[in-house]
């Protein structure tokens, strides 16, 4: 059921490589109308953000280089903080330094878990499969490298998120790039630039929320449902708007209606799904230990030779870098919003905790997906996207596609809830708080669920990628200005530890 009917997913692969609009004439009626209205707009936006330079026959989007360059600069500037302080990050998450009197406040673990739930999702399942079906197993190597470098970006932005957050009189906390860009740069005597960057970030964040955080998720969840219910014969096929309507109604009940029970159930199931996914992956790798060596050889060999891959080594590198950035969102700024609510007197501690996020997301989960796919031998087929991951896991467990279908829908739903919050924060930064204004955004967010489910995958992916990556432009510029602040924070924190002012409590 998951084999040859996965046309939309392979179209996704082609779209990611070429960034060209992909016309796909198999939908009609309502879907077609929505598609024809939105696609031209998203094509213009995607074309601008993904301005590419050519390396031989491969296009290299500059925005991906922008993120990897930033991550490399932060890695060097902070002296490989992601390796030196990895152990300290684990202690912080375990609560070794948490004041017992702060019980009942947001812990480091909770901030990390919430931020992770916004990033772990389709990028880890579908994105990785797309990367290695185009870039070969070697793309995995570059993905891991980008993940490791990205840890330094996350460290920088999440420290600033806590440092410059707003704490309101009623006890609520609001943080994120829009606050550190405006407040941080004001401190440095550049209030105008800070304000402009914050506004640009907020606009892009709203776009990213409805794009990658919403339409892409709705679209992928819909494709899954169509395939599970019988592919082209399915009642849902060509009726994406109907699925979108149902999904939008459920999202609306949670974010507008405030029905917490739906969100609660999802939050309980999603980590469980993630654990099943990781354990199944480890079991498959364990069962095929004799092939694991070969898979690792192909990952390293492919990374530098690019054997059998369009564009060779550069092709593998681009795919790896691009999917890592899309999956762990390091340098994008989104995670800083979730991390900033933690209870701590030392902003730098949340930076250390946050650097675990790309590690878990990319270095562990994405890599495992890549190894399973490489071991399974399904890479020789012309599958891609979720279908490839699904087929790879099915070689070991025949029941896995059904679990994966459920996981995809739930991941999509929880990612939508996370991004509806990120988008709302950007919205209220621009337009101010107020029930009426907030409801306008939430209603718009729900409308985009319907649009996302109705559109072809090509334009949806282009638009989603474009808006999410666009957030990195103002964010990274701000991070360059503010990285000395993070360095000072780190210096005074370690002085306090040396002087014994901050002690382990466990």
């Amino acid at each position: 059921m998951f084999s040859t009917k996965w046309i939309p997913a392979s179209v996704a692969g082609a779209a990611i490589l070429s960034f060209a609009p992909v016309a796909q004439a198999q939908q009609g009626g309502m879907d077609q109308v929505i598609n024809e209205t939105v696609a031209p707009v998203s094509n213009v936006i995607a074309g601008a953000i993904f301005y590419s330079v050519s390396f031989g026959d491969v296009e290299f989007p500059l925005i991906v280089g922008w993120l990897v360059l930033a991550a490399s600069i932060f890695t060097l500037y902070f002296g490989f903080v992601q390796f030196r302080k990895f152990g300290h990050a684990i202690s912080l998450v375990k609560g070794d330094y948490s004041d017992p009197n702060d019980a009942g406040e947001v812990s480091h673990f909770q901030a990390l878990a919430t931020a992770l739930s916004g990033t772990v999702g389709l990028g880890n399942i579908a994105g990785v499969a797309v990367a290695i079906s185009i870039g070969g197993p070697g793309a995995t190597f570059w993905m891991i490298l980008a993940g490791l470098l990205g840890m330094a970006s996350k460290f920088t932005e999440c420290t600033l998120g806590v440092k410059f957050r707003n704490e309101y009189a009623d006890g609520r906390i609001s943080g994120g790039p829009m606050y550190y860009l405006s407040k941080g740069l004001k401190e440095q005597g550049k209030p105008g630039l800070g304000r402009v960057l914050a506004v640009v970030f907020s606009v892009c964040c709203i776009g990213g929320a409805v794009g990658g955080g919403n339409m892409f998720q709705a679209n992928q969840a819909f494709q899954q449902i169509v395939n599970v219910t019988g592919g082209e014969q399915s009642f849902f096929a060509g009726n994406g708007w109907l699925f979108g309507l149902v999904m939008a109604a459920i999202v609306g009940m949670v974010i507008i209606g405030g029905i917490k029970s739906i969100a609660k159930v999802t939050e309980k199931i999603v980590p469980f799904m993630a654990v099943i996914y990781v354990i199944s992956g480890l079991v498959i790798i364990g069962m095929n230990l004799d092939h694991a060596g070969d898979a690792i050889y192909r990952i390293f060999n492919g990374a530098f030779t690019g054997a059998g891959v369009a564009g060779g080594m550069v092709g593998a590198l681009i795919q790896g870098f691009k999917r890592a950035a899309f999956s762990n969102e390091a340098g994008i700024g989104s995670a800083a919003i979730a991390h900033s609510a933690v209870r701590t007197k030392e902003p730098i501690t949340e930076g250390y905790v946050a650097l675990l996020e790309p590690f878990i997301d990319t270095v562990v989960i994405c890599t495992m997906t890549a190894i399973v796919i490489t071991i399974s031998g399904e890479l020789q087929t012309d599958l891609t996207g979720v279908a490839l991951t699904s087929a790879a896991y099915a070689t070991a467990f025949s029941w896995f596609p059904i679990v994966l279908a459920l996981a995809v829908v739930l991941f999509a739903f929880s990612t939508m809830l996370s991004w509806s919050y990120y988008g709302l924060k950007a919205w209220t930064y621009l337009f101010g708080e107020g029930k009426g204004k907030e409801t306008v955004f939430k209603a718009f967010f729900c409308l985009c669920v319907i649009i996302g489910a109705s559109m072809n995958l090509g334009p949806v992916i282009d638009f989603s990628d474009a808006m999410i990556f666009a957030m990195a432009l103002p964010n990274v510029v701000g991070l360059y200005f503010l990285m000395p602040v993070v360095k000072r924070e780190a210096a005074q924190y370690w002085q306090k530890i040396e002087r014994g002012e901050i002690k382990r409590v466990k």
Binding site: A103, T114, G171, R172, A263
Partner: protein
């Protein structure tokens, strides 16, 4: 006379008030103070949504003041009988924290109430009494 207080576990229910009454009588007889602990069940490893993270500090403040309000009638009962009483409201795992507080306050014994009921649900959920009876390092009285 003794300085070692009787520790009472409190959660605002009728059973908890019965436990306070009982501890009061014992304290009068022994001539010792009473320490009431109100524990709000909490794990730093539970999952919260981004919205809940934002509001957590606000909610915690509300929860603490609500707990204090619930405690005041129980405190009044003891104060009217001239029994020295102290209290604390804390977040955490109720079984572990009760044992920890008992040690911190050098309590002589623990008194808790139980809701009763013989259903399976009550047996599975009413685990504080079971935990303490099993694990507490000092005598435990369960008031029905």
């Amino acid at each position: 006379m003794s300085d070692h207080p009787i520790l009472v576990g409190f959660d605002g229910t009728d059973a908890a008030h019965r436990a306070v009454e009982f501890a009061g009588s014992r304290a009068e007889a022994i001539g010792c103070p009473v320490h009431i602990a109100y524990i709000l069940e909490w794990s730093p490893y539970s999952f919260l949504s981004a919205q809940e993270l934002e509001e957590r500090h606000q909610r915690r403040t509300e929860e603490l003041s609500r707990a204090e309000a619930t405690l005041s009638p129980a405190l009044d009962i003891l104060r009217k009988r001239d029994i020295p009483v102290t209290y604390e409201v804390r977040y955490g795992h109720s079984g572990e924290l009760m044992c920890q507080i008992a040690q911190e306050k050098q309590a002589s014994q623990i008194v808790i109430g139980r809701k009763g009921g013989s259903g399976l649900g009550a047996r599975l959920l009413g685990s504080l009494a079971l935990t303490l009876v099993q694990a507490a390092p000092l005598p435990v009285t369960v008031v029905p």
